[in-house]
Symmetry: C2
Amino acid sequence: MATEKKLDCVILGLLSHEDLTGYEIKKRMDTTLKYFWGASYGSIYPTLSELVRRGLAVREECDENKRNKQIYAITEAGREYLKEWLKQPAERDEIRYETLLKLFFGNEQGEAQTIAHIEDFREKTEKEMEYLLEAERDLKECLEDDDTHKYYLLTVEFGIKTYCAYLEWCREAKEFLEKDKKKEQGNYE
Amino acid sequence: MATEKKLDCVILGLLSHEDLTGYEIKKRMDTTLKYFWGASYGSIYPTLSELVRRGLAVREECDENKRNKQIYAITEAGREYLKEWLKQPAERDEIRYETLLKLFFGNEQGEAQTIAHIEDFREKTEKEMEYLLEAERDLKECLEDDDTHKYYLLTVEFGIKTYCAYLEWCREAKEFLEKDKKKEQGNYE
DNA sequence: CTTACCATGTAAGGCGTTACATGATTCA
DNA sequence: TGAATCATGTAACGCCTTACATGGTAAG
């Protein structure tokens, strides 16, 4: 019980909100959960089968329009399992930022390249930020409709706050490096 | 060339600063790089052997005190490899926050438990923050000694900024949920 | 003398990505 | 009619963690 597979829990969590197909689950991963969790088809479909085998979800074949579509729903046992996991404290929160790695080894590459990495990072962050601000707007409008929105909003706010911090850091880091560069140039005059 | 194994680069990066043993590399991962990269012995030692086999690092046996100790150093080819990787833009910056996941599915567990998760997260963050502030102090003192310190400091500042944002979010999120709870209680009066 | 730390490594197994393979439908 | 999107899945392979296995040394 101590080491649940996280993807099981994520999928069960999504199914606790609504019935979904594997394809739709993937879409949620790429939008709603994007900035704090991810998964590929290659892990989603096998996990889904596993969940059914264990009785935590059920598959409903649906032949609407002759399209073979498998809709998954959470079972009572699945809800129990999810709740049990939710009770335990989170054991692992981790970030893997290649950008920071490249930054850390900045002395091997020189100032200009480091600044370019920061610039890249800023652009990516700004793009993500736009999406989050849009989500925030939408969610605030329909906060009363559904209790799940409240919690979704909380994660969006988390994203916005941290992205703001990233952008601030980008500005200051660039300034810091550029100031340093100028000082160096000054030495040669 | 497009898909270098990240651990190769991290280790090479550390070796570009100084010669190290596998044990020391692990220590760096657990302290300096802790909050944006991690690795276990089970991956470090095999990677180190692989690096030597490929001529990107060399192993120097050292029988100081009869302790069998393998010191690794980066080679010219290793430096080239590292620089090549540093030139490419970072392709993957990702976070995996179980806390956010548990939050997202908060409607399944109720307000009190969600608040407890936030509380846990705040505590962890505060502890990490202390360490980062200490590192910041130390680094600022010896900034001139070594060029690598400058880049290290940049990553520390990144950590401090984001952790500040986390703590701010914790406060606001709790407030938001508690306000909501009060409203509910009000309804029953 | 015993605890903590230094130090290296392997084996099993889990988890996940990438690439591949296929085909229907919708919209311009 | 062609592109985008919907839709499902498998196979190969890579990477990493966990657990195990071993032993020296320093400090209290």
